[in-house]
């Protein structure tokens, strides 16, 4: 095959993989906002938390898979604890205070990370049997692990869609997003639903950090980097829309990847230019309801 075409296809795969990873973070952000009405700046910190857990647990127990198995329930517990201690107090407060409290939370997470792990960049080894690369031409190949990441993210996205659309729990979640009081008066414990959604969002972001660690490495500030891009995804897709988050994430993943390759001088800006264009065209995002 022609090298130029293969190179192009590799970029498409990379863009889709980045997009799917972004989806895991952005879907939690959009769910937590759409259902609980909370804007959570500390969502990126959960991504960072996942990556550092994967890094330290992999060092401790020697197996990437075992560390995943331990880390996911751990992040769910951390999410539940934070919900009980802080976020529960924010449900009725103005967005302004949500922004500030979660901003304070970012500072705390960043400094704790600095105290516990230091400020160095760490690598995480790609687990054994996924280390291989698929040769495409004489000079180009594609790593199996990236394909694996995309497949896992796709499976999770599918599961999430099924959960929200086809299950009783999903129905309750959707109803809670529309009218909280009504759901409560029908005898459903909305607090329980909130707790579940928050823990789910935290687990998704942390899991994204874990599986991204072998590719992207583990470094200070990684959480904020992904947080801001996830904001762009949510703004493009429309707040509260899982479908919007999915399409927005793919769009941003591809735009960012192709920007890096074909226009490196302005690569940092491509996603924001895209966002500006969408805001001009549809101020409430692609799938957002106006006035929300």
């Amino acid at each position: 095959m022609d090298t130029g075409l293969v190179f192009f296809l590799i970029q498409v795969l990379n863009g889709v993989q980045l997009g799917l990873l972004l989806f895991l973070v952005a879907s939690g952000l959009t769910l937590i906002f759409g259902i609980m009405g909370i804007i959570n700046l500390a969502h990126g910190s959960f991504y960072m938390l996942g990556a550092y857990l994967a890094f330290s647990l992999a060092e401790l127990c020697g197996s990437f898979w075992l560390s995943l198995l331990i880390a996911v329930p751990l992040t769910v517990l951390i999410g539940l604890a934070l919900e009980a201690a802080l976020f529960r107090l924010l449900y009725t407060r103005d967005h302004l205070y949500q922004v500030l409290l979660t901003y304070g939370l970012i500072l705390v997470f960043e400094e704790l990370r600095s105290l516990i792990f230091g400020d160095d960049v760490h690598g995480v080894a790609v687990p054994g049997f996924l280390e291989a690369s698929i040769p495409l031409t004489d000079t180009l190949s594609y790593p199996v692990y990236r394909l694996f990441m995309s497949a896992v993210c796709l499976a999770i996205a599918g599961g999430l869609a099924l959960l929200i659309r086809r299950t009783r729990l999903g129905m309750t979640i959707r109803a809670g997003a529309v009218n909280r009081e009504m759901v409560q008066s029908l005898g459903i414990d909305i607090g329980l639903v909130y707790r579940f959604v928050f823990a789910l969002g935290v687990a998704l972001a942390a899991f994204a950090g874990m599986i991204a660690a072998p590719v992207a490495s583990v470094f200070p500030g990684m959480g904020n980097q992904i947080l801001i891009v996830s904001f762009v995804v949510v703004v493009i897709g429309g707040i509260g829309s899982i479908k919007g988050a999915f399409l927005g994430a793919l769009l941003i993943g591809l735009a960012d990847t192709f920007g890096q390759v074909y226009a490196p001088a302005i690569a940092g800006m491509t996603v924001y230019v895209l966002m500006a264009a969408v805001l001009l065209w549809r101020p409430a995002g692609l799938f957002g309801r106006a006035g929300s």
Partner: protein, 324 residues
């Protein structure tokens, strides 16, 4: 009944006198620290025009601060001084123009979209400047000579002099305060507050709310540019962090902590936060940890900010006076 005693104006006059007399009793270090605080106070007041004035929570206000600072870098010749009288208006105009362009886009959204969109635009500047070699890239750049205030052969003050710089900053902070005071009680400010309370109703009353919000956004951007310019002039150094989300977050914290419903609130917030930051940074390298905890506690404990606390204390004092 008895004439109502108003504590506010007296406290304000007292504070102004104290700031005027401050260089007589304080050394260079504290004069510089206070100049920094007053620059942040201008920045915070400009943001409060949006947050407290119109209910627009911007998490990207640092974009205009950074633009003002980088404008001075661009207008300063390599090893000579820029003219203050040319570069300062140019910096403010640049920030205002950027605010107009960005405002046209972000003001189409509201609520959480607005928060996220403003953050993303500031981040766009951050990434552009980080990658721009001609602006010094991620390392930043130095401005070796402070702007020159010479006008028609006269030099009324020298910015290189710590005390002169202090008084220039104080004068500009006072001017910003007065401007915002006038705006707040002018029809313009009342319309903005009407928008904050209920935009739909204001529109139904026939106000072109978008234009009012845009005008507010541009004025706020211009004043933030002024603060950024002063920051670059004071430190002689600019870097991409001036555009960063941490800068936007800190200034929002100053507004909330100080209290957004009172005009002097952001000034109070700037003093409290910069002094706290200075104190914590002296005590530990990991000062952001106690700072973050402080912010979390402040949000939970002080819904009206420091000025709300002052108002409550004032009401308490009045109650005491009446009881006596």
């Amino acid at each position: 009944m008895t004439r109502r005693f108003r504590l506010g104006p007296w406290l304000l006059a007292l504070a102004a006198l104290a700031l005027l007399a401050f260089p007589a009793v304080a050394g260079k270090f504290y004069q510089q620290l206070f100049s920094t605080i007053m620059i942040m106070a201008i920045f915070a007041m400009s943001l409060n025009l949006l947050v407290g004035g119109a209910g627009l929570v911007s998490l990207g206000h640092a974009a205009f601060f950074g633009l003002g600072a980088y404008a001075l870098l661009l207008l300063s010749p390599a090893y000579a001084a820029a003219s203050l009288w040319l570069s300062l208006p140019a910096a403010v105009a640049l920030a205002a123009a950027a605010a107009l362009a960005i405002g046209l886009l972000v003001l189409r959204s509201s609520g959480v979209y607005f928060i996220m969109a403003t953050l993303a635009f500031a981040q766009m500047f951050f990434y552009y400047v980080t990658g721009a070699k001609w602006l010094g890239g991620s390392d930043g750049a130095y401005i070796y000579v402070k702007p020159d205030a010479a006008l028609f052969g006269l030099t009324p003050f020298r910015l290189a002099d710590t005390r002169d710089f202090y008084y220039v900053t104080l004068a500009l902070m006072a001017a910003t305060y007065l401007l915002l005071h006038v705006l707040r009680y002018a029809p313009f400010g009342r319309v903005l507050r009407g928008i904050r309370a209920n935009e739909q109703r204001m529109r139904a009353l026939g106000f072109a709310t978008f234009r009012y919000k845009l005008a507010g956004f541009v004025i706020a951007g211009a004043l933030a540019g002024l603060a950024g310019y002063l920051d670059a002039a004071q430190f002689g150094f600019v870097n991409p962090d001036l555009f960063g989300w941490r800068q936007s977050g800190i200034v929002l914290m100053m507004v909330i902590l100080g209290g957004m419903n009172a005009l002097p609130g952001p000034i109070l917030g700037a003093f409290a936060l910069v002094l706290l930051q200075d104190f914590l940074a002296d005590a530990t390298r990991h000062w952001l940890l106690p700072m973050g905890l402080f912010i979390i506690l402040a949000v939970l404990a002080l819904p009206q900010g420091l000025s709300g606390l002052a108002l409550r204390l004032g009401a308490f004092a009045r109650g005491e006076a009446r009881g006596a």
